[in-house]
C-alpha cells in the first residue's frame, strides 16, 4: 500500500469552498465599487481583518478540542487597559506589552483550569471570565479610556514595515506558527484527538487536561495580542474595547469550516472565514449600506454559509 496524500486533498477541497465564496464576494464587490480593488483599500481590509483573525486563530485551538472561549473580547480589553496603564506610569513600552500578554495568557490558563480541574462546562467557565475580565477592566480604568500612549507603542498598530501594516505582519507570524503546530507537530494531533474522541485520547496516553490548558492559554494570548494591536491602533485603551469580539471570532472559525463539536477543521479555514467577514464589512461600507443593514446581512451570510457546509457533509 502506498502512502497517498488523498486526505490532504479532501481537506483542501473543503477549504476551497470557502475560498470560492470569498473570491465570489470579491468579484461582486469589485464590480459594484471601483474603490474596492485599490491597493490602499486592500491593505485596509487586511489590517481590519487581522484583528479578528489573530483572535479567531486562538479560538480555533479551543474549538478544535470541542470547547468555546467567550472571554476573548474582555481579555482583549483588560490586557490592553493594563498595558496602557503601565505605559502611563512610565514603564518601558516593551515590558508593558509583555505584561499585557502574560495577563491574557494567565486569564486563559484560569479558563483552562476551570474547565479541566473544576469540570465547569467551557461555555460557563469562559462566560464567567468574560464578565470578570470586563469588570476588572472597568475597575482598573474607573470606566475611563487611557489615551496618548506614545509613538513607540503606536508602531504596533499604525506602523508599517516595507509598506505592509504591522498588524498584518503579526497575523502572518501567528498564522504560520499556528498552522505549523496544528498540522506538523504531535501537540497538534493531540489537540485534534482531544476534540475527536476525548475518552480514546485519554486511553491513548494523551494528557487531555494539559492539552486543554494549552488551548485556553493560546486563546488568552491571542486575545491579549489583539488587545495590544487595537489599543495601539486607536492610541487609546477603551474599557469597552472588544465588546462582542468573541462572536466575530467564533463566526470566522465556523465560516472556515471548523466543527463546533471539535476534531475537524483548521486555521486555514479560519483565515478565510475572517477574510469573508472583513471583506463583507469593507464592501458594505464602500457601498454606503447603513450599519443597521450591515448587521442583518452579516448574520444572513453566516447562516447561509454554514447551512451550505452542513448540507455538503
Amino acid at each position: 500500500m502506498k502512502p497517498t496524500k488523498k486526505r490532504d486533498w479532501s481537506v483542501f477541497l473543503r477549504g476551497m469552498q470557502s475560498v470560492i465564496g470569498l473570491l465570489g464576494l470579491c468579484i461582486v464587490l469589485s464590480i459594484l465599487s471601483p474603490r474596492f480593488l485599490k491597493w490602499g483599500n486592500i491593505l485596509n481590509v487586511l489590517t481590519q481583518t487581522s484583528l479578528n483573525a489573530v483572535m479567531a486563530i486562538g479560538m480555533t485551538f479551543v474549538i478544535l478540542t470541542g470547547g468555546i472561549d467567550l472571554s476573548v473580547g474582555s481579555i482583549l480589553a483588560f490586557s490592553g487597559m493594563v498595558t496602557a496603564g503601565m505605559i502611563h506610569s512610565g514603564l518601558n513600552v516593551w515590558i508593558a506589552i509583555l505584561i499585557g500578554l502574560v495577563i491574557g495568557t494567565v486569564l486563559g490558563l484560569v479558563n483552562g483550569l476551570s474547565v479541566t480541574k473544576g469540570n465547569v462546562p467551557p461555555f460557563i467557565a469562559t462566560l464567567a471570565m468574560m464578565t470578570m475580565a470586563r469588570g476588572a477592566t472597568l475597575v482598573y480604568s474607573s470606566g475611563r479610556p487611557k489615551p496618548n500612549l506614545g509613538e513607540a507603542f503606536g508602531f504596533l498598530g499604525q506602523g508599517k514595515i516595507l509598506s505592509i501594516p504591522v498588524p498584518v505582519i503579526i497575523l502572518f507570524f501567528v498564522f504560520i506558527i499556528a498552522y505549523y503546530v496544528l498540522t506538523q507537530t504531535a501537540t497538534g494531533r493531540y489537540i485534534y484527538a482531544t476534540g475527536s474522541n476525548e475518552k480514546a485520547a485519554k486511553l491513548s496516553g494523551i494528557k487531555t487536561d494539559y492539552i486543554k490548558l494549552l488551548v485556553y492559554a493560546v486563546s488568552g494570548f491571542t486575545a491579549a495580542l489583539t488587545g495590544m494591536v487595537v489599543t495601539s491602533m486607536l492610541d487609546s485603551a477603551s474599557p469597552t474595547a472588544g465588546t462582542g469580539a468573541e462572536l466575530d471570532a467564533i463566526a470566522a472559525v465556523v465560516l472556515g469550516g471548523t466543527s463546533l463539536s471539535g476534531g475537524q477543521g483548521g486555521v486555514v479555514g479560519t483565515i478565510i472565514g475572517a477574510l469573508i467577514i472583513g471583506v463583507l464589512n469593507n464592501g458594505l461600507n464602500l457601498l454606503d449600506v447603513s450599519s443597521y443593514y450591515q448587521q442583518l446581512i452579516k448574520g444572513i451570510v453566516i447562516l447561509v454559509a454554514v447551512l451550505i457546509d452542513r448540507r455538503r457533509r
Binding site: 500500500m1 502506498k2 502512502p3 497517498t4 488523498k6 507537530t185 474522541n197 480514546a200 491513548s204 476534531g263
Partner: protein, 502 residues
C-alpha cells in the same frame, strides 16, 4: 398466508449494491434469524422494513396485502417494531415515560398526562414479559439488559405484529441472554413474528426456527434450524469452510512478566493477586459487572489503587495511562468506537497517536514519511484491509478497525497486552483472524490478558483462565481442566468459595 413477505428487494448506495434481489418470508409465531457477515445487508434489509431506508425496487406484503413503507411512521402503523443495536431510549426519563414517549394518554380537558394510567400499563407490559423493573426508575440507571426489556415493552405497547431485533445479545451476559430468549419465546406464543439479526450461530441454533443467510447483499438461502448445523451455516455465510474456529497454539511458558499483589480499588476491586507469564494468554471470565474491565483499566493506570504491580520484577507506580504504556502495558478497550478509535481520522493517524514521539524530529515536527512507512509495514503485517493508510477508519469493517488498534499498541512495543472483548461485534471470519493474531503475538513473546464474555472463545484461546465475581478473583483454571460449567460456577459464586480449585 405468511405474515410478511418481501420480494425482489434492491437497494443501492453510492458505489455499492447493498441489496440485490433479496427475499424474505415470516410467519406469525415464528423466529427468523438473519445471518451474515458485516456488510452482508442484514441491517439494510430490516431498515427498509422499518422505514429508515426506502427500497429502490421490490415488493413488501403484510398478510397478503401490498404495503408501501416510506418512513418510520408508515412502518409503525403497519405494526412493525424495531429494537436497534444502539438502544433508543431517553436516558433521563423514567421507564414508563420512555415506553409511552410520544403516545402519552392525556386528560381530554386539561391535557395533563395521565401518569397513573401510563405507570399501570407499563407495569402490565413488563409483567407480560416476565421481568421485574420498577417503572419509575430513570432509564440511565438500568443495565443494558433491562433497557432492552424496556425497548421490547415499548414495541409491545405499539401493538406490533412484527418485531425486529438487531444484535440484541451483543452486550448481554449469558444469564441475560437466557432471560431474553424466554421473552422471545413468550412473544412467539402470542403469535408475533420475530426477525433476529445475529452473528452468534450458537444462539441462533437455540432460539430461531428458520435462518436466512445473506452474503454481500445477496440472498444465499434459508434453512430450517432443526435441519441444519453450525458448519453448514458458516459455510453459507462466508462462502468457504473455516478450517478451525479456535486455532490454539502452545508456546513454552517462561518468566513471569506481570505480577499483581493484593490489588484493591475501593468499591471496584478487592484483593486481586495473580501472575502472568511470557508466552501465555490469560483469560478473564465473569459476568458483566464482575470487575474485569475495571481490573484492566487499573493496570492501565486509569484508577487509583492500593497493592503492588510488578513488571519483570520492577515495582510500578501506575498513576496514568502514559505511565502504563511506558511500563509496557497496553489496553485494547471493549468499546472500540467510544473509547478506542478516532472515527473521523485516518488509519495512519489512529495507529501512530500513542507513539508520535518516535516520529518527532526537529522543532517538534512529525516525520510523516517515516510515519507512513511504519504504518504501511504494520498494515501489511496485520493484513489490514484498507484502500490506503489515509482512509478514515469509520469506513473500515469491525475486524479491520480492531486490527488498527492492535497495530497502534504494537508500535509501543508492549510486554503485556490486555484485550477487552476483542471480538465483540466482529463477524466469524474476522474473529478467526483476530485469534490467529493473538497466537502470533504470543509467539512473539507478548504476554496477553484476554477478557471475554464468550465462554467458547475463552476456552478455545486461553492457556489459563481467571474467573471474577463482584470485584474478586473467585477461581483459576488451567485450560485442560476448564469447562463452561466450572467457569459459570465461579462466575456466580458468593463468599466462601474462593480458590476452591487451587
Amino acid at each position: 398466508m405468511p405474515l410478511l413477505e418481501m420480494k425482489g428487494i434492491c437497494k443501492q448506495f453510492p458505489g455499492v449494491m447493498a441489496l440485490d434481489d433479496v427475499c424474505l418470508t415470516l410467519d406469525s409465531g415464528e423466529v427468523l434469524a438473519l445471518l451474515g457477515e458485516n456488510g452482508a445487508g442484514k441491517s439494510t434489509l430490516v431498515k427498509i422494513l422499518s422505514g429508515v431506508y426506502t427500497m429502490d425496487k421490490g415488493q413488501i406484503k403484510i398478510n397478503g396485502d401490498i404495503v408501501d413503507i416510506r418512513n418510520v411512521w408508515d412502518a409503525m402503523k403497519l405494526g412493525i417494531g424495531i429494537i436497534h443495536q444502539e438502544l433508543n431510549l431517553i436516558p433521563d426519563l423514567t421507564v414508563y415515560e420512555n415506553i409511552f414517549l410520544g403516545r402519552e394518554k392525556r386528560n381530554s380537558v386539561t391535557k395533563r398526562i395521565d401518569k397513573s394510567y401510563l405507570k399501570q400499563e407499563s407495569k402490565k407490559l413488563l409483567n407480560r414479559l416476565g421481568v421485574d423493573i420498577d417503572v419509575e426508575r430513570i432509564v440511565k440507571t438500568l443495565s443494558v439488559a433491562e433497557q432492552q426489556m424496556v425497548e421490547i415493552a415499548k414495541v409491545l405497547s405499539m401493538d406490533c405484529r412484527i418485531i425486529i431485533m438487531d444484535e440484541p445479545t451483543d452486550a448481554l451476559t449469558t444469564d441475560e441472554v437466557q432471560n431474553l430468549f424466554k421473552v422471545i419465546r413468550a412473544l412467539k406464543c402470542e403469535g408475533k413474528g420475530i426477525i433476529l439479526i445475529s452473528h452468534k450461530i450458537e444462539e441462533i441454533m437455540e432460539i430461531a426456527d428458520r435462518v436466512e443467510v445473506l452474503r454481500d447483499g445477496k440472498y444465499i438461502g434459508t434453512k430450517v434450524v432443526a435441519e441444519t448445523n453450525t458448519d453448514e451455516l458458516i459455510k453459507m455465510m462466508v462462502g468457504r469452510e473455516l478450517k478451525e474456529k479456535f486455532p490454539k497454539v502452545k508456546v513454552p511458558v517462561s518468566d513471569v512478566v506481570l505480577e499483581v499483589r493484593n490489588l484493591s480499588v475501593p468499591g471496584l476491586l478487592h484483593d486481586i493477586s495473580f501472575e502472568l507469564r511470557k508466552g501465555e494468554v490469560l483469560g478473564i471470565a465473569g459476568l458483566v459487572g464482575a470487575g474485569r474491565t475495571e481490573l484492566a483499566k487499573t493496570l492501565f493506570g486509569v484508577y487509583k489503587y492500593s497493592g503492588d504491580v510488578f513488571v519483570e520484577g520492577k515495582k510500578l507506580k501506575l498513576t496514568s495511562t502514559s505511565a502504563a504504556i511506558e511500563a509496557g502495558i497496553v489496553y485494547l478497550t471493549e468499546d472500540r468506537k467510544e473509547e478506542g478509535l478516532f472515527l473521523d481520522k485516518s488509519v495512519s493517524y489512529n495507529m501512530t497517536l500513542a507513539t508520535l514521539k518516535v516520529f518527532t524530529g526537529l522543532l517538534g515536527k512529525v516525520d510523516t514519511r517515516k510515519e507512513a512507512q511504519t504504518v504501511s509495514d504494520y498494515v501489511q503485517r496485520l493484513r489490514i484491509k484498507s484502500p490506503s493508510i489515509t482512509q478514515t477508519v469509520e469506513n473500515l469493517s469491525g475486524g479491520n478497525q480492531q486490527k488498527v488498534l492492535v497495530g497502534k499498541w504494537l508500535m509501543t512495543q508492549p510486554k503485556i497486552m490486555i484485550l477487552d472483548e476483542p471480538t465483540r461485534g466482529i463477524d466469524v471470519g474476522a474473529k478467526v483472524e483476530i485469534y490467529n493474531l493473538i497466537n502470533e503475538l504470543k509467539k512473539n513473546g507478548i504476554a496477553i490478558i484476554m477478557i471475554s464474555s464468550e465462554l467458547p472463545e475463552i476456552l478455545g484461546i486461553c492457556d489459563r483462565i481467571l474467573v471474577m465475581h463482584e470485584g474478586r478473583i473467585t477461581g483459576c483454571l488451567e485450560d485442560n481442566e476448564a469447562t463452561q460449567e466450572k467457569i459459570m460456577r465461579y462466575a456466580i459464586s458468593t463468599g466462601g468459595m474462593y480458590f476452591e480449585a487451587n
